[in-house]
């Protein structure tokens, strides 16, 4: 019953947009037998998955199932935590990002990340968006102006903040701040966007805007979104992966996962029997 409600959105989207077969199947990220330990505790077990370019992949699963941890392995954000050990391969565009020759800084520039809680810097709106470009050494005000405007437009925020560029970013509303963070990530022109529950702290209207934006961004970016909200996964994603206790249980087209999951655990989670 509940599942049927969720799927109405999917059906509409599928019928109006291109069908799955027409979407390119170019593999952007290939993960092979990934294991991860926090000290002695293993958090991820043998995860292998292929994620496609210009598609939205959603990771779902109950709290503590490792979906966020897995997301953070994709741009090596776990490097910041002490005692993390990783075995396995994460290949992006044919290169293993955990090999010694990889420059983490340029990797992160290529793989942008949006966090659960919006985290604008205590700077102006303009400086937040320009931050990444300034890191790259761009000083020309005209170039920066152009990038800031383009990124804010992409993040569907330009019309709301174009007169407030010099105000502190923290004066924006919660939803605007999150879109600002998206704009900030877009400004360094990544190819992949990782989103860690990007709308979990937002109200329904702001959430709807973010979702709209995510679907919009799909045309240019490879998007991976972690979400607690199954309706959201159903609404926006092309592919859904279900994680449970550090294992990847099932992955497939969203429609298929939500209508006829192969694994019993997946079905139980989706129908709300646990989680």
């Amino acid at each position: 019953m509940k599942t049927q409600d969720m799927l109405t959105g999917v059906d509409e989207r599928l019928s109006s947009a291109t069908s799955l077969e027409q979407v390119s199947e170019e593999t952007k990220i290939r993960v092979e037998a990934l294991n991860l330990w926090y000290g002695d505790v293993q958090a991820l077990f043998d995860i292998s998955i292929n994620l496609h370019a210009r598609r939205i992949s959603a990771f779902i699963g109950p709290s503590g199932c490792g979906k966020s941890t897995f997301l953070r392995t994709l741009n090596r954000m776990n490097d910041l935590i002490d005692n993390v050990r990783i075995r396995g391969k994460v290949v992006i565009d044919g290169a293993d990002i955990y090999s010694d020759s990889v420059d983490v800084v340029s990797l992160r520039r290529n793989v942008g990340m949006i966090f659960q809680k919006s985290n604008p810097f205590p700077k102006t709106v303009y400086e937040n968006v320009a931050y990444g470009q300034r890191l790259l050494g761009v000083r020309d005000r005209r170039v920066l102006d152009e990038i800031v405007e383009r990124s804010l437009r992409q993040a569907a925020l330009w019309d709301e903040v174009k007169d407030r560029l010099e105000e502190p970013a923290l004066s924006l509303s919660g939803g605007q701040m999150q879109r600002l963070c998206i704009a900030r990530a877009l400004a360094v022109e990544p190819e992949i966007l990782l989103m860690d529950e990007p709308s979990s702290a937002l109200d329904p209207i702001a959430t709807a805007k973010i979702e709209e934006l995510i679907v919009e961004l799909k045309q240019k970016y490879t998007i991976i979104i972690v979400t607690h909200n199954m309706q959201q996964a159903a609404r926006v994603s092309d592919v859904t992966a279900f994680f449970y206790l550090g294992r990847l249980i099932e992955v497939g087209e969203t429609r298929k996962i939500f209508t006829s999951p192969e694994k019993k655990q997946t079905e139980e989670y989706i129908t709300g029997r646990f989680g």
Binding site: V105, N119, P122, Y131, G132, L170
Partner: protein, 557 residues
């Protein structure tokens, strides 16, 4: 049913009571300082005491500075009735020409009659303390004498400003012109010493040494000549300025005495017993201005404290300029780059304990390390020709500031560490996820967000450092500095010079002079000023912090 006080109430009362006690003690102390400090500059009335009894009949003229009960046993030995609670007065009688002591105690029971003659006058002098008495006459020249008391006072008031200004001008010129000549003379002398040093080390041959030395010696002789001329000119000007004399009818121990006082040497003349309200206010304002802007006189007991204000502020700013960057960098390493092992914990404990080391220990370290080791090293390296006279190898404002910054750096470290710890992880991750390196993240995001916290550390450090005296006493503070650490000679800031400090000034006038009783008021006033300066510096820093906070406000997550 048992009705008792609700359980928690006891603790509310207890904690509240202790807070109230603290507040009372602090406000009490501040009130005492403010009341005593503010009252010091008021014009005190001049009382005339007619003494009688066993003592010889005598009339005393002076200002009452304090009044106290005579202790019982003392009263008994003096033959007074302790039951009548006799009092005694501390009277400033001044007139050092006539009395050995500026102050004297007058026992209440000996006093027959007290009057306040309206025409009694107090003269504050540049030297020899105050003079009390009545105007007798004004001698303008050998043949021009104004005899009438009223006329003499009128004319005196008209010419006093001018003559006083003239003497001040002479003093200023002495300082500027003679100071400049003396400075050049000293530079030449040092150059000769340098030449001798180089000759002794074989760096120049004796021929060029001789030629250069002859040149310098000639220049020095020239300087000496013009120095003498200047001095003579100024001396004759001074003689002229000092010619008009106010003759004062003073009350000596054996009746009336006439005392000649050059008008130009009088700082201030007033008749406190017949002053109008506006005159009182003007007097007060002029005293406060003198206190803030002038050099000290009379072994620091009179005049102003400007050099001490300057020294205190400059020392505090220097100290902050060193301690803050030092502490911030140390805290950054501790918080951002170490991984928190046993070693880090030990360092942290050591830093915290450093803040508890007695300040005199820092003073001794400063003396041994900065003054003798570093300063001595600089002298040996850069100023060998001046040895054994030290340049940097002796106490100075630089070494005092560095010593105090060692003392205050733990405060900055602790405050900065706390500020860094309070910065949300999300902000750092946001920056790193955009491809920033760790250092870029620290520089562009973490440090700006931590500035308000760092400012708090700086404020605490300033408050701590400005109030320290003990370490300064052995690293460069003096009772009276002839030269300020800042003047018009290159490089303008002379960090090797000794300096004056308000804290030490308080100690000096309160405990190191003969007239301790008399200086109590000055002690309070100077304390008030020191507290005011610390408060001012803190307020300025707090305002800067408030603005930064507004700018770097972080969301509450």
């Amino acid at each position: 049913m048992k009705h008792s006080v609700p359980r928690g109430d006891t603790y509310v009362w207890m904690t509240g009571g202790f807070l109230a006690l603290c507040v009372i003690m602090i406000t009490g102390m501040l009130l005492l300082i403010v009341v005593q400090g503010i009252g010091y500059f008021r014009p005190r009335p001049i009382d005339q005491f007619a003494l009688q009894g066993d003592a010889e009949a005598e009339t005393i003229l002076g200002q009452v500075y304090s009044r106290e009960d005579i202790p019982g046993d003392v009263a008994m030995t003096l033959g007074y009735d302790p039951a009548a609670r006799p009092v005694r007065y501390l009277v400033r009688v001044g007139n050092r020409e006539l009395f050995a002591q500026d102050f004297r105690w007058v026992n209440g029971p000996d006093v027959g009659m007290v009057t306040r003659p309206a025409n009694a006058v107090c003269l504050e002098r540049v030297e020899y303390g105050n003079a009390y008495g009545f105007v007798h006459s004004l001698r303008l020249g050998a043949n021009r004498v104004i005899d009438s008391e009223i006329d003499a006072w009128d004319v005196f008031q008209k010419i006093h400003e001018t003559l006083r200004g003239l003497l001040e001008q002479i003093k200023a010129r002495e300082k500027d012109e003679l100071g400049e000549l003396n400075y050049q003379f000293e530079q030449h002398r040092l150059e000769v010493k340098a030449l001798e040093y180089r000759l002794a080390n074989g760096r120049i041959d004796s021929a060029s040494y001789e030629t250069r030395k002859t040149e310098i010696v000639a220049a020095m002789a020239n300087l000496e000549q013009s120095l003498r001329l200047h001095q003579a000119a100024l001396d004759s000007m001074r003689r002229i300025a000092r010619e008009p004399v106010l003759v004062l009818r003073a009350l000596g121990s054996s009746g009336e005495d006439l005392v000649d006082i050059p008008v130009a040497s009088i700082v201030r003349a007033y008749k406190p017993n017949s002053m109008t309200a506006t005159a009182t206010l003007r007097f007060y304002a002029s005293k406060v201005w003198e206190f803030l802007s002038d050099d000290p006189r009379e072994a620091n007991a009179e005049g102003g404290v400007f050099p001490a204000i300057f020294g205190t502020v400059m020392m505090v700013l220097l100290m902050t300029m060193v301690a803050v960057p030092f502490g911030v960098l140390a805290a950054l390493y501790l918080r951002e780059y170490t991984s928190g092992g046993a070693m880090v914990r030990i360092v942290r404990i050591a830093v915290n304990n450093l803040a508890g080391v007695p300040s005199i220990v820092f003073g001794m370290f400063g003396l041994g390390f900065f003054v003798y080791f570093v300063g001595g090293g600089i002298d040996a390296l850069l100023y060998p020709e001046r040895l054994p006279a030290p340049t940097y190898g002796t106490g100075g404002i630089l070494w005092a500031s560095l010593t105090l910054s060692l003392l205050t750096v733990p405060v900055v470290i602790v405050a900065t560490e706390e500020a860094l710890a309070a910065i949300p992880r999300g902000i750092r991750e946001g920056s790193l996820a955009l491809g920033a390196t760790k250092w870029e993240t620290i520089r562009r995001v973490v440090l700006p967000s931590a500035t308000p916290g760092i400012m708090t550390g700086a404020i605490l450090a300033m408050a701590r450092g400005a109030g320290e005296v003990a370490p300064l006493m052995i690293t460069g503070v003096v009772k009276l500095a002839t030269e300020m650490p800042f003047d018009s000679h290159f490089p303008f800031f002379h960090l090797d010079r000794k300096f004056m400090h308000l804290g030490f000034h308080i100690y000096d006038i309160g405990f190191q002079t003969s007239n301790v009783e008399a200086n109590i008021g000055m002690v309070y006033t100077t304390t008030l000023l020191l507290i005011g300066i610390i408060l001012f510096l803190n307020m300025a820093a707090i305002m800067v912090r408030a603005r930064l906070r507004e700018r770097y406000r972080t969301a509450g997550f």
